[in-house]
């Protein structure tokens, strides 16, 4: 039996190396981790990791320019799929970032900025280790103590249209959705690849997950 093929989508946004290294570390030879810019590799993958950094507009543009938009949408709807940080945000319908931008609309919902007028004492970006409260069971939470801390860096957060998409929440001024799940898709605002043991466990769970 050939090894599981996990593709980290490379569309020129952000530090894929960290994600790939962490995935390789936890896969421990049980899966091949391939960083790829080739839509065919995504189509052939058993599972897909979709990272992202920087601004929403630049991410959307990069997805278009690299021809990755359609393959990513298809993967998000059909196979085990892990969105990370901006890779969560661009799955939504629309983001307020960069004067507003249409996103992939895989998950209906919006992307909003932390409200500086309501919470003037908050530092933005939300940067550092914060708790994720697991609001629903999920195979990717397996072995992770509820309310474990993960590493975050972001100024915007997602608001899924339907509450049942949210499977993790975090408090920063207000309570926001920090993880969502739908069918074989799981996406998280924090960086599991930089979140020490809790993050590595999540990546390990993903690598061994068949999407059920």
């Amino acid at each position: 039996m050939s090894r599981k093929q996990i593709v980290v989508v490379d569309y020129g946004m952000g530090n894929l190396r960290s994600v790939a290294k962490a995935a390789e570390h936890v896969a421990n030879q049980s899966a091949d981790i391939l960083v790829s810019q080739n839509p065919q590799d995504i189509a052939n993958a058993d599972a897909v990791i979709f990272p992202g950094q920087g601004a929403a507009k630049a991410c959307m543009q990069a997805l278009k320019d690299t021809g990755m938009m359609q393959p990513v949408i298809e993967a998000a709807e059909t196979k085990p799929f892990l969105g990370i940080c901006m890779g969560l945000q661009v799955l939504m319908t629309y983001s307020d970032e960069n004067q507003g931008i249409e996103c992939l609309d895989v998950i209906p919902g919006l992307v909003k900025k932390f409200d500086e007028t309501r919470f003037p004492e908050l530092k933005i970006p939300h940067m550092g280790w914060n708790q994720i409260h697991q609001t629903q069971d999920h195979p990717l939470w397996h072995g992770i103590v509820n309310s474990s801390r993960f590493y975050f860096v972001h100024s915007y957060f997602v608001k899924p249209k339907l509450d049942h998409y949210a499977i993790g929440t975090t408090e920063y001024g207000e309570t926001f959705t920090s993880a969502i799940a739908h069918n074989k898709l799981f996406a998280i605002q924090a960086h599991p690849e930089k979140s020490a043991d809790a993050g590595l466990q999540l990546l390990k769970n993903f690598i061994h997950w068949n999407g059920a």
Partner: protein, 257 residues
């Protein structure tokens, strides 16, 4: 509960080796950055900062190799500072596995570099390091200026205004070192830290002067810093990161344990 205050050990690296002495009873080679970083990770460090003090620019590849090695074994945020002068340096460090770069002198010579780097790579990975020294007399209102060359050369730039400017240029974080306190072990310059932290929206990392655990607590509670950076207090086995976190927690500071 909410965001934890961070504790960041800082390692000086010269030609690929940790210098200024790091002592752990359990590790074989205290000069190996990978071994030292792994140890701090196990103790619960929230991030690790490497400061490349290699004098010769011919040896730039050495720090890149160090970052690659550490990033494949330590899965917490890594910051690299020292000699980051152009966009290509930033790209090289990020590609090697660094999460953030710290820009110091180059920001002073060319502030546009900060804007350029933030636009290209995102503010989240751009830390601007500020070395500040008090220049006001005791009977005057506090005033701090930016110094270069290890605190020997004044630039005449006001530290608080500079922090505000760097925030507007896209810095994601400020690493603020008091050159009056650096190496003294008498604690952070809390007035400086608070003045800068209260003037900007982005997080401030306090640095310079930590000699005991209470200083770390003070940096957060009195200095309003979001993170505290220290070197010798951890390197010489005086305290572990975990002890530091417990001390902070006992005084009501939220930490990751």
């Amino acid at each position: 509960m909410g965001l934890a205050k961070r504790i960041i050990p800082c390692l000086d690296v010269d030609n690929g080796r940790v210098v200024k002495g790091v002592q752990f009873v359990e590790i074989r080679d205290a000069g190996d950055p990978v071994e030292v970083a792994k140890r701090y990770d196990q103790q619960g460090a929230d991030e690790i900062t490497f400061l490349d003090i290699t004098a010769s620019s011919d040896n730039r590849d050495t720090i890149v190799h160090v970052v690659e090695q550490v990033a494949s074994q330590v899965f917490i945020p890594l910051t690299v500072g020292g000699g980051i002068r152009k966009v290509e340096d930033v790209r090289q460090m990020l590609n090697a596995g660094a999460d953030k770069v710290s820009i110091n002198t180059a920001a002073i010579h060319n502030p546009e570099f900060v804007r350029q780097a933030a636009d290209l790579f995102g503010s989240q990975c751009i830390v601007v390091a500020i070395d500040a020294k008090k220049v006001s007399a005791d009977n005057e209102p506090n005033r701090w200026e930016i110094f270069t060359h290890g605190g020997r050369k004044s630039t005449g730039i006001d530290a608080i205004n500079w922090a505000i400017k760097m925030e507007s240029y896209g810095a994601g974080e400020i690493l603020l070192t008091s050159m009056d306190r650096d190496g003294t072990k008498i604690g952070f310059d809390l007035e400086l830290t608070r003045a800068v932290a209260d003037a900007i929206k982005i997080p401030v990392i306090a640095s310079g002067g930590v000699g005991e655990l209470q200083h770390l607590v003070d940096g957060v509670k009195q200095g309003h810093a979001q993170a505290v950076l220290a070197a010798s207090i951890f390197h010489f086995g005086q305290h572990t990161i975990e002890e530091a976190k417990l001390a902070m927690q006992q005084q009501g500071v939220e930490v990751r344990l």
